[in-house]
């Protein structure tokens, strides 16, 4: 993944003082994320999109580790600089090792790094959903159905789909990665 430094987005990222009234509650105490600060341009979309993202990408039946595997892997496959950089840091915080993160980003063999068959089929499913066209290969579907419950497959697939949406959004609008995240990735050798 390129460490190209992007400090400005294609659209204005609204600072707190320019945030529309109904968008302000999404700003929190610190600096708003570029996703929030760009979506604030259309406050009625911000109001529905952020709760959706939080629901789709946050832990539910699948734990945080599984969700971060889905997000980071999908983002790497789609080549989304912002999402890969941001979720590399989140994945490390979620307990994934540096070696696992590298493998998910395409730098290392998944089979050698992930020993758990359930996680391996999870990644196989993610790859098929993120990159495939039409239905998933029946052989992959069969392996996934053996190891994942229906509700887990639903949640995983939605996480991949939501990530795909965000990947295209963040890439097309050239959202900048925060300086602290870039510094951390550099320190971890993951820039």
């Amino acid at each position: 993944m390129s460490a190209r430094s992007v400090t400005t987005a294609l659209v204005a990222l609204l600072e707190r003082e320019q945030a529309p009234l109904l968008a302000r509650r999404f700003y929190g105490d610190g600096p708003a994320s570029p996703i929030t600060a760009s979506l604030a341009q259309v406050p009625e979309l911000l109001e529905v999109t952020l709760p959706f993202i939080a629901g789709a990408l946050g832990p539910a039946c699948l734990d945080e580790r599984a969700k971060e595997i889905a997000i980071l892997r999908t983002s790497a496959l789609l080549g989304c600089r912002y999402c890969v950089q941001t979720h590399t840091a989140v994945a490390l915080d979620s307990g994934l090792s540096g070696q696992e993160v590298r493998a998910l980003r395409g730098d290392g063999e998944i089979e050698h790094v992930f020993a758990d068959p359930r996680e391996r089929v999870t990644i196989e499913w993610i790859d098929a959903v993120a990159l495939g066209r039409g239905p998933v290969d029946p052989a992959i579907t069969a392996r996934a159905s053996d190891l994942l419950e229906d509700h887990q497959l639903v949640e995983l697939t939605l996480a991949v789909g939501a990530t795909l949406m965000l990947n295209r959004y963040c890439s097309a609008l050239e959202l900048p990665t925060s300086a602290p995240t870039l510094e951390r990735l550099a320190a971890e050798g993951l820039d």
Partner: protein, 279 residues
């Protein structure tokens, strides 16, 4: 049974008037203009059809009046007919600089005389030089010529005086201004004095009083850029639209921004809007 909007208007939670920013461009370039309006700025025209459609929906929702502002609304050829359409349904006020009322325009606005329509005209100073300093050359002369011609046709006229600090104005100057508008046929009850709001070009020029949403009355304001909290909200500075008082980008169906405005208003403390008296 009252609608949600009717109840909110009756309870004073939101203003009953829906404002339409017909356009942002203007034949003048006033030093305190909220929208940086001028002859060559981006027009940002809402459009007659959009105004008619949204006004009909607003009427059905239970709003009680319409306002049209800009820019200069009467720069648009269709404005007299549009205002008549609005006025036939609900009381309507149109804000104008009154510099475009030539004979043809005067004939076109004559039907407004029979309707609950007021044209609110800006006049800031009883002396031409001081007035025109902020509003541009010949403004005073054109205004004092236009007002009696509108009045004699039976059209409702209000005068709006915008001052940097209404509390600090010279009483003698104020009295001369009142004598002037009375002489033009506009009574005291149709004269409003309000402060310059420190937004738009006034902010760039460092004049006017600060106004956040806590000081403004919630009044649904529809523009080409979206729905805003107040007619003082969709301001432009440095060519860029202010979004701090944006309610939603979508303006139709009107029920959507109206509902969003109500949600905002529900969170406001009572009496918040009276602090700088700019209703």
């Amino acid at each position: 049974m009252m609608s949600t909007i009717e109840e909110a208007v009756a309870a004073g939670k939101i203003g009953g008037r829906v404002w339409f920013y017909s356009n942002y461009h203007c034949n003048l370039q006033c030093s305190y203009c909220l929208t940086e309006s001028a002859p060559l700025v981006k027009r940002r025209e809402l459009g007659a059809q959009a105004i008619i459609e949204r006004s009909r929906e607003a009427e059905n929702l239970g709003f009680t009046g319409f306002g049209v502002t800009g820019g200069e609304p009467f720069i648009l050829d269709y404005m007299p007919e549009l205002v008549a359409d609005l006025g036939r349904r609900l009381p309507t006020v149109v804000l104008s600089n009154a510099t475009l009322f030539n004979e043809r325009r005067l004939r076109e606005v004559e039907p407004l005389a029979d309707l609950p329509v007021h044209i609110q005209i800006s006049l800031d100073h009883p002396d031409p030089i001081e007035n025109d300093e902020m509003r541009g050359p010949e403004n005073f002369r054109k205004v004092v010529e236009a007002i009696p011609r509108l009045v004699e046709r039976g059209i409702g006229v209000r005068i709006a005086t915008t001052l940097e600090d209404p509390d600090a104005v010279d009483p003698e100057q104020q009295e001369r201004l009142c004598e002037l508008h009375r002489s033009l046929g506009v009574p005291d009850e149709d004269h409003v004095v309000r402060p310059i709001i420190n937004r738009g070009r006034a902010k760039s020029n460092e004049i006017g009083v600060l106004a956040g949403f806590e000081q403004l009355e919630p009044e649904l304001t529809l523009t080409a850029d979206g729905a805003f909290y107040s007619p003082f909200a969709p301001t432009v500075r440095g060519g860029r639209l202010d979004t701090d008082l944006l309610v939603s980008r979508a303006t139709a169906p009107v029920s959507a921004p109206a509902g969003a405005l109500l949600r905002i208003a529900d969170e406001l403390p009572a009496g918040h809007d009276a602090s700088i008296g700019i209703r």
